[in-house]
Amino acid sequence: MSTATEQTTEQTTAQSERTTRTLTFAKAITEGLRASLESDDHVMVMGEDVGRLGGVFRVTDGLQKDFGEARVVDTPLAESGIVGSAIGLALRGYRPVCEIQFDGFVFPAFDQITTQLAKMHYRSRGRLQVPVVIRIPYGGGIGAVEHHSESPEALFAHTAGLRVVTPSTPQDAYDMIRAAVASPDPVVFFEPKGRYWSKGEVDLAAAPAEGILDRARVARAGTDVTLVAYGPTVATALKAADELAAEGTSAEVVDLRAVSPIDFPTVVDSVRRTGRCVVVHEAPVFHGVGGEVAARVTEEAFYSLQAPVLRVGGFHAPYPVAKLEHDYLPSVERVLDAVDRSLAY
């Protein structure tokens, strides 16, 4: 005869099996938003075309139908207006989740985000909280026209007070969007749009891991080199790690999850063990997140390093035309090339 505790455990397992579904990355965010809208009636979704259309990437598909026009709001075409009014709504106790249609269109709101949203808590000495989430599809590789493929995360990461995060798997997307909505801080939530259609198992019942927005994730364990990536380049790094394994090199892949603030201990701990580090992002290397990672690793793991920290990413040029984007974006080959240089150092 089983004890009461055992029965409960059995039930939970059965339940969580039922709640695990194969979802696309985009749908995982939809479900995360749905869960947030269900659990707190002060949560709102707002942005251009998020209502009836369900957003140009359909991430908010069905939400207006289920939660009504008052909670899933088609806003006027004005990003400064979207974020500025979201700040006001947040000051009034709401939790707005703003959608910016594409990375290149966030800049009309840059003033509101950096001078107002980021600093409200600080300048009110903690009396005011502005739990606004700004969702931004970002990154390239989808054959788009100008302003639809950029990776501007460093521009936001440079502003203290914002949490700048980006998931790399459907499960993380589901967990991190819920954590972002629940966060008392403003969160800039970058969604790797090139991954929207990739699929994965998502456990819809599990609560997001405590502090998921603060902690990097070891996506693959290894011993010879640490590949630090986030968002769209985690998949690139994992593919590179597969190829390296075939060649006898064991690569550890660290998924930062948050590019500001950064979980340095997880990164530094990994590099102390592997002695080598390559950072991979789509954004330009010059003045990028990789520079910060490289500096911190050099400061904190200098004696463990067998080679300089190398960076693989975009160039110091505007995002190029679609015909050239695959030469601009960090490919598996370019990651392997950097690992070769690190190993050969």
């Binding site: 806003t75 788009a144 030469d327 392997l336």
Partner: protein, 384 residues
């Protein structure tokens, strides 16, 4: 968008009067005494001028259809159709003088056609082969702007420059210059467009803000952008506005000619709302069945701007079958040219992505260019 039983704009919620209209949907000329001054503006247009407008509208539509087909075949990354807006674009562009300067958004294929921007060049951006595609100085047409509303301010500043250069109010028709910016109903919500009104107004700049209210900003009807009529948007800024039937090519010509003359003579900026309809999808990535009714599309199809001008020409006995066949043949040839030449556009060399980052060379860029070139040549040699 709220529609009545016919699929047309619901009269209770959308008052479309006043509306400058010179040709009714059935092709007959209107006689409204209030619009006498606008009729004056088109009085000098000969049948040949009307036929030229017709031809430009037909060629614009063919460009649209052909480009949409090329996108479907994978030759273009994206395309934004202008179907339904040919009268607003062709009519307004016909009123421009060569020295006038245009700041378009991204759907103004008809304006560019009239200005003479090569049709293949117009597709370079949509092919993902170029971020611009033409030389702005060649036809006084700036590049398309994808960030909604930003170019309205550039146009205001350009107009301020024209004014400083003393090219306003000289009385010399070959010198006096106006600037036009085209944008949509959605764009009116952007701060930049309001700021453009402010800057144009306080400087009395020679600017026409030409808003094509095509009823939709992707999936959002104009009622999500504004509660009052758009043509009145400038009033509070001190910029007078006028609403014109955007599917009436003569009315668009007349209203634009009027606004341009005001600008060129030193009378200051004007806000024009061309009331029209986006007959196609927002872009080739869009699916309008998700957000609008078939009845509405049918209503506007019955108000096709090209049919209206054809009806006018017919009713005035100026329709000539031989000429119409020539226009058709010309459209065929345009289609043929696009199909061959767009397909033949290759990709730029990889290192072109480093060209023109700065006006003068810098080691930062040069090193990266050299690195990528070497990396790619190693790759082709199979170094790894």
């Amino acid at each position: 968008m709220k529609t009545d039983a016919t699929g047309g704009p619901d009269a209770a919620t959308q008052d479309v009067t006043p509306l400058v209209q010179l040709v009714a949907p059935d092709g007959s000329r209107t006689a409204d005494p209030e619009h006498a001054a606008y009729r004056e503006r088109v009085a000098h247009l000969a049948p040949a001028d009307l036929r030229a407008m017709y031809r430009d509208m037909v060629l614009t539509r063919r460009f649209d259809d052909e480009s949409t087909a090329l996108q479907r075949q994978g030759e273009l990354a994206l395309f934004a159709q202008g179907r339904g807006q040919e009268a607003a674009q062709v009519g307004s562009a016909h009123a421009l003088a060569p020295q006038d300067h245009v700041f378009p958004s991204y759907r103004e294929h008809g304006v560019l056609h009239v200005r003479g921007v090569d049709p293949v060049d117009r597709l370079r951006l949509f092919r993902g082969e170029d971020h611009g595609g033409w030389d702005p100085a060649e036809h006084n047409v700036q590049l398309y702007t994808l960030v909604i509303g930003s170019h309205a301010l550039h146009a205001a500043g350009y107009a301020m420059g024209v004014q400083r250069d003393g090219l306003v109010g000289t009385g010399d028709a070959a010198r006096d210059t106006a600037v036009v910016t085209y944008f949509g109903d959605g764009a009116t919500a952007q701060g930049d467009v309001s700021e453009a009104l402010v800057f144009a107004a306080v400087n009395n700049a020679p600017l026409v803000l030409f808003c094509q209210n095509n009823q939709w900003a992707i999936s959002e009807p104009t009622s999500r952008q504004a509660r009052g009529p758009l043509y009145r948007r400038g009033e509070g800024f001190g910029v007078p506005g006028v609403r014109v039937d955007g599917n009436d090519v003569l009315a668009c010509y007349a209203v634009m000619a009027d606004a341009l003359e005001r600008a060129r003579s030193g009378g200051g900026p004007t806000f024009v709302e061309a009331y029209t309809y986006r007959m196609g999808a927002h872009t080739t990535s869009d699916d309008p069945t998700r957000y609008r009714e078939r009845a509405e599309e049918d209503y506007w199809r019955r108000r096709d701007p090209i049919d209206r001008l054809a009806a006018l020409l017919r009713s005035e006995g100026e329709w000539d079958e031989e000429w119409a066949a020539d226009v058709e043949a010309e459209a065929e040839a345009l289609g043929e040219r696009l199909r061959t030449e767009v397909r033949a556009l290759g990709a730029p060399p990889t290192t072109a992505m480093f060209d023109h980052v700065y006006a003068t060379p810098h080691a930062t860029v040069d090193e990266e260019r050299a690195w990528l070139a070497e990396y790619e040549s190693d790759l082709t040699e199979g170094a790894r």
